[in-house]
Amino acid sequence: MKEIRLQSVVPEIFAERNDISSDIWLTDAILERGKSYLIEAASGTGKSSLCSYLYGQRGDYRGLISFDGEDVKGYNINHWCDIRQHNISILFQDLRLFGELTALENVEIKNRITKHRSAKQIEAWFEELGISDKLHSRIDRMSYGQQQRVALIRALCQSYDFLFLDEPISHLDDRNSDIMRDIVLREARAQGAAVVATSIGKHMNIDYDKTLRL
């Protein structure tokens, strides 16, 4: 997948508003593979909605969202599942980890279907992110910041053209935030993928190609 294009897209709940001034809503916005974007958003501007639309979670918008010129409204659930395995990876704001599984199992459950990463690689990331002692701890016994790092590792366990990071460092200190940034840039570059990070304030220290205001 090379580009994601949003033409005159607006969430249905905003449709009646005429005070929208945004780089994404009701414009022609393009996200291209290989570049890095920061989407800055204030609360209530529809950041979660945007991620949901681009990930096939929700379809309550007006306008046209297309992947390489193809309207995504026509995709069925199985097609979206294919995209979620091969084209778009996401680090959810609310993480969406499985509380009753261990940290490693949470990563494995993704890697089982994509068979993308070796166990060694996964453990190396745990090490790099400073949570190697938590490999076999249940996720619901870990802090939110630790969970965020596990969710990132899970997001990396697949091929992707676009890597969405929805407030990835909200609960990380600067040191861990920089480690995460290094891994993200390294992996995205290796895959030639775009990095699309959102932020409501604190954001990863990357030299973004473009900053879009929501």
Binding site: Y55, G56, Q57, I77, N78, W80, C81, D82, R84, Q85, F92, R96, F98, E100, L101, E105, E108, I109, K110, R112, I113, T114, R154, Q158
Partner: protein
Amino acid sequence: MRLIWKLLRKHISVFELAVFFVANLIGMAVILAGIQIYSDLSPMLTGEKSLIGNDYMIISRPIERVGGETPKISEEEIEALRGEAFVENLGIFASSKFRVDGGIEFKGKQLSTMMFFESVPNEFIDVDSEEWNYEEGDNIVPIILPRNYLNLYNFGFSQTQGLPNITEEMIKRVEISLRIMGNGHTDYYSGYVVGFSDRLNTILVPMSFMTWANDYYSEDYSGDATRLILEVQNPSAPEVVEYMAEHNFVAEDKPSESNKALFLLQVCVAVIVCIGAVFSLLSIIILTLSIYLLLQKNVTKLENLVLIGYKPSYVAIPYILMTMILNVSIYLISIVLVSYGQGMYMGYIGKLFGVTLEASPATAIVAGLMLTAAITLFNFFIIYRKIAEISRKRC
């Protein structure tokens, strides 16, 4: 799949599944038993392996005046009857056209009476005896009596006269001395009762004896038919009744045992199968609700699995496997129960009719397989639909 199972097995209610299991087991076993009983018993009531007997009717012309000749049935009329669709087989009664005196020795005294004989072709006779044959020159004539006669004696005559009861076996041992006269001949034969008929209300001798004796002892044997025995599917069918009235035949009023028995069997089986079906239906509803509840409790996990790229059909596998294991176990246990029950009732029926019956639960196996496949497919359908619904609505 191990991780998926670890995630999704939570909230599985053993109690709900156990209720489903027991209810469906009862339902399935009852349905299969009903079907198996029907398939075992209906050929005994109809068809060639009939134990109770097919539907037979005996017809003749009505006797309209005193002193006249017995009304005859012509060959054309017989041929016309043979051509009717409802007639599966037809036999002509042959009656003795010679004088028969039968005697038995009782307490040293010779008791003697005038007798008559009739014959029908062997396929119409409901007595299975190796002694039932006669070849020209034999001095021994096998005889079949109506069971009614014996009952008449035992329950009527002997009780009022203070005479002892007699059993069938006793009668079979008694020699009946027969004196047959006609056409200038007088000969003596030994008659032995070889069996008792429930179907034919007359004194029977083998057709081979009758043909020969009529020829030998009768001066003017014509062989005209006066009574016919018909094998029909249903003697009370409208077309049969209509035909008989139209062609001036009267049927001997013999209740059609097999017909009534078959009807009763059908009613019983229908009731059994209905009860089984209600059980099964309720159990399927329990399982469906149970699965819905289970999926509802796991809705966030299912949603998250689909969000990280698992297809709904894959996520459905643990639930489908679970119902499949349940259904197949229920099926296997039902078959074991049915074949055990079948062994019991077939043994009992075999004893009742004095035959050895083969018990094979083949019908139950096939019917159960179809039923299990249908229930399992239905389970697949509702599981898949529910998961797809969750994925669509939430993802």
